[in-house]
Symmetry: C2
Subunit: 191 residues, 2 copies
Amino acid sequence: MSRSVGGYHHGNLQAALEDAALDLLETTSAPKISLREVARRAGVSHNAPYHHFGDRAALLSALGVRGMAALLAAQEEAVASAAGPVERVRALGLAYIRYAAAHPQTFALVFDPDYCAAGSPSAEMAPLIARNEDLLGGEVAALVQEPGWEGRDVMALSAALWSTVHGMAQLIMLGHLPLEAAEPALDALVR
Amino acid sequence: MSRSVGGYHHGNLQAALEDAALDLLETTSAPKISLREVARRAGVSHNAPYHHFGDRAALLSALGVRGMAALLAAQEEAVASAAGPVERVRALGLAYIRYAAAHPQTFALVFDPDYCAAGSPSAEMAPLIARNEDLLGGEVAALVQEPGWEGRDVMALSAALWSTVHGMAQLIMLGHLPLEAAEPALDALVR
DNA sequence: CTCCTAAGTAGACACTGTCAAGAATGTGGA
DNA sequence: TCCACATTCTTGACAGTGTCTACTTAGGAG
């Protein structure tokens, strides 16, 4: 399927470019990734990417969508294999944190306003954000039925939990907190 | 004091460069700030900054130190004018969040590992980080003497509170949460 | 006054993102 | 079958960037 390299028509350059850039993201922060280096890795000229992405930001933005999808999938999988409302929320948060620790540059890209603006998300990003909010909101709604959590405002509690988990992910990713501190700290707050 | 502009000797170019860059930070994210633009604003040649900063990252790093100092000062001031352990911790967190909302680019710079590495902080940054940890640790230590908080692990609780506040600051700064959601969300968790 | 050093300038280089124009390739219609 | 055409990719150019080297100037110590 993949066309012989060297010819004019690559076959699936769009995906190849995203793959190359995703590779670079393992070791390099998004702002330092160069479009020309990505093209070089994909074995095409420095201008080939412009036929698949409007500009550099568009490529990074596409990577952000991929990252957000992976983050969402990690949370959904974690929730599915947990029993009980409290345990499910815990699993969701830990999955979020572990994804950030495992793919720090990708996680940072997803929340970088220069490429993935929260105010005006791309057409592919918006539904992912919505699904994530639904996922968290649903679990919190189940949580507030539990003894000890009854009557809490779902919106406020969701915002607080998201903040805690997001902040912890950020601080661990930056090296301000060790990954092992995540579970005890979470439990210190939520009990 | 300030030397006549146009001559070879500026007088205090180091500070002038930081001021110009800080101005740019009000509207532009750190990775997009160009050293040559900063020099232009300071009215000097594109190479003058190299006599005061080793490279571009060093200038941004110095701005990060300024930002961290301001963030710390905001917290200290808020704590000083609050009564009671719970209220003091609350004030500290809100000051942190409000600083991030008021100076988003500067706040982001302080936590940008490309310029302000958490693992190996600069000589000026390290004591500020230590002072901030002492500030939070001290307030939490006082908090766990209060009824309803007795016996909690200070380290774990500090980490959790920092995470919550930092995450909320981040999400508000990015536009994922409105600033007005901060207080209710904080209170939903801490009661 | 002289000379040294710190603080500025000018010029060059490699690299970047992006625009314009041209060449190769595959495709639908006669 | 053959030929216009749109797509994909290439080459070349331009302005802007960070940083290196070399030169010029100002101010202060002796």
